[in-house]
C-alpha cells in the first residue's frame, strides 16, 4: 500500500487536574490517502480527543499529548508554532457546534478558511483576493447555500446551514485531510443524512481523506468504509465495513440494549 497520510503511534492523551483523566491510552493507527474512516464510540470514549490531538487543538483544553503523530511525514507534536499553523492549514476541521462567528456574513465565515493562503496585511484589512472570494462562493453553492444568502449574517442560518458553512470553510483550505468531530450530532436525522452525503461526495469526487466521528450506529454503518471503534480511550476495532459483524460490534461498542457497559 501507499504511504499513510496520517500515522498515529503510541498516542496517549491526559487531561491533568486533581483527578487526571486518561482520555486516550496508547492508540496506534494509520490512515491512507483517500480513505473514508468513521470513528465510532459512545461519548467519553475518546473520539473527540483523538481528532483534537491530531491538529493539537486539545492543547487548548490543557491536555498533555504523548506519543507521535505524523501528518504527511511531519511529526505534529514536535512542530513549532509556525509549522503547526502550516500543518493545520492542510487539515480541515469540522465542529459539532459549527463554530461560525454569528455576527459575520456567511461569506466571511467561509473566507476564514483561506486565511493561511492570504497575505497577512490583506487578511487583517479584510481585503481578500478576488480568486478566494470566487472560490468561497463556489464552495458555498457546492455545499448547498444559494448565492443570495452569502451576504446574510451567519446568525440567520439554521443549524444544518451553519454546518454547511463549516464545510465550505474547510474546503477553502484545499485540505489534504478532513477531520469532522460529531458533525451531525446537533442536527435532525434528515439534515444529518444530507450533511453526511456532502462529506461522502467530497471524499469520492476529490479523494480528500476524511475521518468522521459519529456516535450514531445507523449513520456509522451507512457511511463508514472503514470503522474504528473506540472504548475507554483504546481502539477495540479497526476493520473495513465488510469485515464487521454488526451485532457483536454494537454490543462491544455501545453496550447492551438496556444501556449497561
Amino acid at each position: 500500500m501507499a504511504t499513510p497520510i496520517l500515522r498515529v503511534h503510541n498516542l496517549t492523551v491526559i487531561y491533568p487536574g486533581v483527578h487526571p483523566v486518561k482520555a486516550l491510552d496508547n492508540v496506534n493507527l494509520e490512515i491512507y490517502p483517500g480513505e473514508f474512516v468513521v470513528v465510532a464510540g459512545v461519548s467519553g470514549s475518546g473520539k473527540s480527543t483523538l481528532l483534537r490531538a491530531i491538529n493539537r487543538l486539545a492543547e487548548n483544553d490543557h491536555a498533555r499529548i504523548e506519543g507521535e503523530i505524523y501528518f504527511d511525514g511531519i511529526n505534529v507534536l514536535k512542530a513549532s508554532r509556525r509549522q503547526l499553523r502550516e500543518i493545520r492549514s492542510h487539515i480541515g476541521f469540522i465542529f459539532q457546534e459549527y463554530n461560525v462567528v454569528e455576527r459575520l456574513p456567511v461569506l466571511t465565515n467561509t473566507l476564514v478558511g483561506s486565511l493561511a493562503q492570504v497575505g497577512f496585511l490583506r487578511s487583517l484589512l479584510g481585503r481578500f483576493p478576488k480568486e478566494q472570494i470566487e472560490r468561497a462562493h463556489r464552495a458555498l453553492v457546492r455545499v448547498g447555500i444559494p448565492q443570495h444568502r452569502h451576504g446574510d449574517r451567519a446568525a440567520r442560518l439554521s443549524g444544518g446551514q451553519k454546518q454547511r458553512v463549516g464545510i465550505a470553510r474547510a474546503l477553502l483550505q484545499r485540505p489534504k485531510l478532513i477531520l469532522a468531530d460529531e458533525p451531525v450530532a446537533s442536527l435532525d436525522p434528515i439534515t444529518a443524512n444530507v450533511v453526511m452525503n456532502i462529506f461522502k461526495k467530497i471524499n469520492e469526487d476529490e479523494g480528500i481523506t476524511t475521518i468522521v466521528n459519529l456516535h450514531d450506529p445507523v449513520l456509522t454503518f451507512k457511511y463508514g468504509k472503514r470503522i474504528i471503534g473506540l472504548k475507554g480511550g483504546r481502539i477495540i476495532y479497526d476493520k473495513p465495513i465488510s469485515a464487521i459483524n454488526r451485532e457483536t460490534f454494537e454490543e462491544d461498542i455501545y453496550g447492551t440494549v438496556d444501556g449497561e457497559g
Binding site: 491538529n55 465542529f95 459549527y98 454569528e102 476564514v112 486565511l115 487578511s123
Partner: protein, 525 residues
C-alpha cells in the same frame, strides 16, 4: 431524654441566633453612630442652615441669559473634550481588553499583568485624573482630554472585558484550526464578537464623559467647569444658575442622542451605504475638529509624561510616609461620607421605587409616570455642582459631600429600585391576595422578600461608586481625602499627592472586591 436535649439544643440555637442578631444590630448602630460623627452630621444645622440653600437658589433666580454668547465656546470645548477623551480612551482600551482576555491570550503571564493594570486604572476617580493631569500638563483643555481618556479607557476596558469573558470560544478554535495566526484569530473570531458590546460601552462612556467634562474645569481642566469656578468666585449667582442649566440641558440632550444611536445599533438597522459613510464622515470630522481646536501640542505631552514618571518615582523611592496616618484618617472620612450619603439616598429612593412602579399597588398612572421622571432629572445634575451649592450653604466640610452624594444617588437608585419592583414575580402576590391578606401583608410577605436582596445589592454597588466620588469631592472642599489632595496640590507637594494615591487605590480595590463578593452572595442566595 433525647427529646429533652433536642429541645434544649434547639432553644440554645434560637438564643444564639437572637444573640447574633442583636449583636449585629448593635454593631450596625455603632457603625452608623461612628460614621455620622465622622461626617459631622447633625440635623439641627441642616434645619438651621438648610434655609440658606433656598436663599442661595433665590439669589440665582432669574438666570442671567445675557452671558450665553460667551458660554458658547466653553460649551463646545466641553463637547470636544468629551469626544476626544472617549475616542482616545476607546483606542487605548481595545488592546487592554484583547490582551487581558483569557480566551485570546492563554498565557497567564500576559493576561494577569494586563488585568491588574486595568484594575488600577479603574480605581482612580474621574476628578483625581483631572487633578493629576492639570498638575502634569498645566491648565486648559489638553489636561481635560488626558484625564478623560484615561477615565474612559478604564471604564470601557473594564466593561468590555466582562463581555469578552462571555464571548463564544468556539469560533476561536475554528479559526485556529485553519492555521491562522494570533492576529488573524483576533481579527476574525474575537473582534466580530466583541465589537457590539464595545461600541455600546463607548457610547455609555461618552455620556459619562460629557458629565465629567462639564465639571472638571472646576479644577482647571477646561470646558464649562472653568466658567463655573469663576462665576462662583465672583458670587455671580445668576450666571452660576445659567451655567448649571446649560450643563443640565447638555447632559439630557447628549443622553437622548446616545440612546437613539444605541437603539439603532442594537436593532441592527440596515443603513444605506451612503448614509453609513456619511455617519462615519461626521464622526471623523467631529474628532478631527476636536483635535485641531484643542491645540494639543507635543511639548505639553512630553511635560506630562515627565510629570507622571516623577510622580511614580516619588511614590516608590521617597514616599511621604509621615503623611500616611493623615491620609488614612481622611480616607476613613471619605468612606464615612460615602456610607452616610448612600444610606440617606437609599432611604429617600426606597419609596420612590415603589411609587414609580405601578406593578403591584394601585397608584394612579399619572403619578407613577411622573415619579419615574424624577430620577432621570436628578441624574443629570453632576454631584460636583450639588457639592458646590451645598458648600456655599453649609461651608466647607464633609456634610456638603454627604448631601451631594445623597441627592445625586437618588437618580440611579430610584431608577433601578423601580425596575426591581417592576420585575418581581406576581405569583406570590396573587397567592397572598387570594388568601385574603391585606395590602400591607402582601407587601410584607410577598413583595419585600423578593426585592430586599436586590435592593441591598444595589445599595452596595452604589456605595462602591460613591466611595470614588467621596474621595474626590474634597477637592472642591467637601471633606475626605480629596481635601488633603487639594491642599497638597496648592503647595505642589507631589509626594503627598502620591501618598494619597497609595491610600486610595488599595482601598477602592478592596471595596470593589468585597462589594462584588457580597453582591454575588446576595443575588445568588
Amino acid at each position: 431524654m433525647a427529646q429533652w436535649t433536642e429541645r434544649a439544643r434547639l432553644s440554645g440555637e434560637v438564643w444564639l441566633r437572637r444573640f447574633g442578631f442583636s449583636l449585629g444590630l448593635l454593631l450596625l448602630l455603632a457603625l452608623y453612630g461612628w460614621a455620622l460623627r465622622g461626617v459631622e452630621f447633625d440635623l439641627s444645622s441642616i434645619f438651621k442652615y438648610g434655609g440658606k440653600f433656598f436663599e442661595l437658589l433665590g439669589r440665582m433666580y432669574p438666570p442671567d441669559f445675557s452671558a450665553l454668547p460667551q458660554l458658547v465656546r466653553p460649551l463646545l470645548q466641553t463637547i470636544q473634550m468629551a469626544t476626544l477623551g472617549t475616542f482616545l480612551g476607546a483606542l487605548m482600551a481595545l488592546p487592554l481588553v484583547v490582551f487581558g482576555s483569557q480566551l485570546v491570550v492563554r498565557s497567564a503571564l500576559i493576561y494577569w499583568p494586563v488585568r491588574a493594570f486595568m484594575n488600577i486604572l479603574r480605581t482612580i476617580p474621574d476628578l483625581l485624573y483631572a487633578v493629576l493631569f492639570v498638575a502634569a500638563m498645566g491648565f486648559g483643555p489638553a489636561a481635560g482630554v488626558g484625564a478623560l481618556s484615561f477615565f474612559a479607557c478604564a471604564i470601557i476596558a473594564k466593561l468590555t472585558s466582562e463581555s469578552a469573558d462571555n464571548i463564544n470560544p468556539k469560533p476561536i478554535e475554528a479559526v485556529e484550526a485553519v492555521g491562522a495566526n494570533k492576529l488573524q484569530v483576533i481579527r476574525y473570531a474575537v473582534l466580530p464578537q466583541l465589537i457590539p458590546s464595545f461600541i455600546d460601552h463607548v457610547i455609555y462612556v461618552f455620556e459619562l464623559n460629557v458629565r465629567v467634562s462639564a465639571v472638571m474645569g472646576y479644577v482647571g481642566a477646561g470646558g464649562m467647569g472653568m466658567q463655573l469656578t469663576t462665576a462662583m468666585e465672583w458670587r455671580n449667582y445668576p450666571q452660576v444658575l445659567t451655567i448649571a442649566l446649560l450643563i443640565f440641558a447638555l447632559v439630557i440632550i447628549i443622553d437622548m442622542i446616545a440612546n437613539r444611536i444605541r437603539d439603532a445599533f442594537v436593532q441592527g438597522i440596515k443603513l444605506h451605504p451612503v448614509v453609513r459613510w456619511l455617519e462615519w464622515g461626521i464622526l471623523a470630522g467631529l474628532i478631527v475638529w476636536s483635535f485641531i481646536s484643542l491645540e494639543v501640542d507635543l511639548t505639553r505631552l512630553r511635560r506630562g509624561f515627565g510629570y507622571f514618571s516623577n510622580l511614580v518615582w516619588a511614590i516608590t523611592t521617597e514616599p511621604a510616609t509621615e503623611y500616611l496616618g493623615l491620609a488614612i484618617q481622611r480616607m476613613v472620612q471619605s468612606l464615612q461620607i460615602a456610607l452616610v450619603g448612600t444610606t440617606l439616598s437609599f432611604l429617600l429612593s426606597f419609596p420612590l421605587g415603589f411609587l414609580a412602579s405601578r406593578r403591584y399597588v394601585g397608584i394612579p398612572v399619572a403619578l407613577a409616570v411622573s415619579m419615574k421622571q424624577i430620577p432621570n432629572i436628578i441624574r443629570a445634575f453632576p454631584e460636583l455642582i450639588l457639592a458646590i451649592f451645598f458648600i456655599a450653604t453649609f461651608g466647607p466640610g464633609p456634610l456638603p459631600g454627604v448631601l451631594a452624594i445623597a441627592i445625586h444617588s437618588i437618580g440611579m437608585l430610584g431608577k433601578f429600585n423601580a425596575e426591581i419592583v417592576e420585575k418581581i414575580r406576581k405569583e406570590p402576590v396573587e397567592a397572598l391576595q387570594s388568601s385574603g391578606a391585606s395590602r400591607l401583608q402582601v407587601f410584607r410577605y410577598a413583595v419585600l422578600p423578593q426585592v430586599l436582596p436586590e435592593f441591598l445589592a444595589l445599595f452596595i454597588y452604589r456605595f462602591e461608586i460613591n466611595v470614588r466620588a467621596a474621595s474626590v469631592l474634597g477637592i472642591v472642599g467637601a471633606g475626605g481625602i480629596g481635601s488633603l489632595i487639594n491642599e497638597a496640590q496648592s503647595y505642589r507637594a507631589w509626594d503627598i499627592v502620591g501618598i494619597c494615591l497609595v491610600v486610595i487605590i488599595p482601598t477602592v480595590m478592596a471595596i470593589d472586591f468585597l462589594s462584588a463578593r457580597i453582591r454575588k452572595k446576595l443575588i445568588e442566595g
